[in-house]
Amino acid sequence: VFSRLLVANRGEIAVRVIRACRELGIETVAVHSEADRHALHVRLADRAVPIGAGPAGESYLVIPRIIRAALDNGADAVHPGYGFLSENAAFARACAEAGLIFVGPPAAVIATMGSKIAARRLMQAHGIPVVPGDAPDDQSDNSLCRALEQVGYPALVKPSAGGGGIGMRIVRDAGEAAPALTGARREAAAAFGDPTLYIERLVERPRHVEIQVLADDYGAIVHLFERECSLQRRHQKVVEETPSPALTPALRARMGEAAVAAARAAEYRNAGTIEFLVDGTGDQARFYFLEMNTRLQVEHPVTEAVTGLDLVQAQLRVAAGEPLRWAQESLTQRGHAVECRVYAEDPAHDFLPQAGPLLLYREPRGPGVRVDSGFTEGGEVPVHYDPMLAKVIVHAETRAAAIARASAALRDFPILGVRTNVPYLLAVLAHPAFDRGDVDTRFLDRETPAIVAAMHDAPVPDAAFVAAAAAFLGDVQAGASGRRSGGGSTAPPDPDAADDTRRRQDPWDFAGPWIGA
């Protein structure tokens, strides 16, 4: 395939790509910020290159430094992961100009799909259904208001650039139009540098269902079925699964065909994802093209679990010019897979992101359990990046068995030192509506206050007091005898936290506040 590949990313996805390369005999070059110098991806790569300070804008987003690191270290290819520069057409172009193979689609495809309006027009022209709406060239308030009237209320005002719900506004009647347009335009300009807006009819209880596609250089395109991603909190996916409990075989087949047609229309190469909005249930449900993600998705492992494919290896082979190895008829979904995103965030305080030490971090194991993470015990969650700690991916024969397996794995995933959303994930998995598969993209935003309130009311088990007391006495004993034995409360030290370690091992500190009390 390649001889050496630079991974232009960090965290679990960098680790994921490095592992795939190792299996294919490709050497890896990691890049890292100062904050990540002890990170797992740096330790696993064959080479590691520092590229700047902690903030992504001074390291992982600096195109010339990444290109320089690739050339200086003799890399012949670059994998962008997701986020950061993965959907940046200028980066794909810079790689090509430097003679590096970019593991992803051509720069022109990234650019087209980066414009929601351009993507929408392209799909419409190829007969792929899009949400009823209008994208007028005349961007004046008058023109956009006319578009709103034509599309009908309730409608959605959306920016052409970017995503993540930024700049989106629901307009329920004509009176709400003017402030919505002003607000959306301001937010879009600030976040993406592009104030262009378009109008879509609002689908009240939509599902987000996306189809994974793979395309090679020779015109072969297959789809790898769907991922159900309706469980989102503030436009951030929380739990994903496949198959979708909402898709009938007929609907799945239609959406798969539409996804392949969309990839063909875009002249797509490599792995990509077509996001659809699904309205209704059963064979009669309607689906609409939303956008195309021109990269590997965070939730790709659920597809790997049910299809048996390795998507990162497939990406590397396609980028190296190999033809696809699979015909559509040979691909099937086996069993059910669920992914839960474990974040360092505090559900009790409005999901405030948490940074800090992973004093204790023990990943769950067992049949059908996979954990993708960029962290190990003793590491540190830096303040600069997305606070995702790990993805817990489970695979089982049925949906019910997969949900039970996901719950068991999450309960067996102790993380101490930073707050996490694990209790929230457990409550979501246990929710009766999720159990029925009866959710839409706004389900979590409606239900989260009740879920969090119920978490608060849970009693503290006696076992928590018993173990804390044992650790307290163990620390006192260890401090007195100058040694620590099994069962003490001290976790392995973070290599960066020499001061902190000294403090934790100081017997006077163990006695701490109770001295002289």
Partner: protein, 159 residues
């Protein structure tokens, strides 16, 4: 070591514990056994059930993981002055990470109720509201709008 009498506090929940020298622990008449399993890990058993429990000392308490949930438990010998165990966090609000103060919502002397936003920070490109943990009066504000603040430093005190 002779039997120890301890007091544990987790949020608003308080328990008296008696720990015998071979790992027998009693809470309100319920008997448990506790045995070390390795670094940070304990086996806690009763007549009905047993569980693996993970514990680390962190800041001013023990962080304890039981079956997917994490509790912060402060422990002291019974009879130690009660005020020592009152968490600093109960009346002082600090930044959870390096952040910029976006706006100071509350004023000194103002009555706030639990959950009310007293301060808005910005970090990780997100607005982070800092809320009062309980009802009280804002007794001091130690930061200004636009200021870069470090974790653990008290920003607002609530009496």
């Amino acid at each position: 070591m002779a039997a120890a009498r301890l007091r544990g506090v987790a949020g608003t929940v308080e328990r008296e514990l008696t720990v015998a020298d071979h790992g027998d622990v009693t809470i309100a008449g319920a008997a448990y056994r506790v045995a070390p399993l390795g670094p940070g890990a304990w086996r806690v058993s009763s007549d009905h059930a047993s569980a693996s429990v993970y514990v680390v000392r962190h800041r001013n308490g023990f962080w304890v993981h039981v079956d997917g949930r994490v509790y912060v438990v402060e422990v002291a010998r019974a009879g130690a002055a009660a005020r020592r165990i009152t968490s600093v966090r109960e009346h002082a609000l600090a930044a959870p990470m390096p952040a910029t103060v976006l706006s100071v919502v509350a004023n000194v002397g103002q009555a706030v109720s639990a959950g009310e936003t007293v301060l808005i920070l910005e970090a990780m490109k997100m607005e982070l509201p800092v809320r009062a943990p309980r009802d009280g009066i804002v007794s001091a504000i130690h930061c200004r709008e636009g200021e870069l603040v470090q974790p653990g430093v008290t920003l607002v005190e609530i009496a």
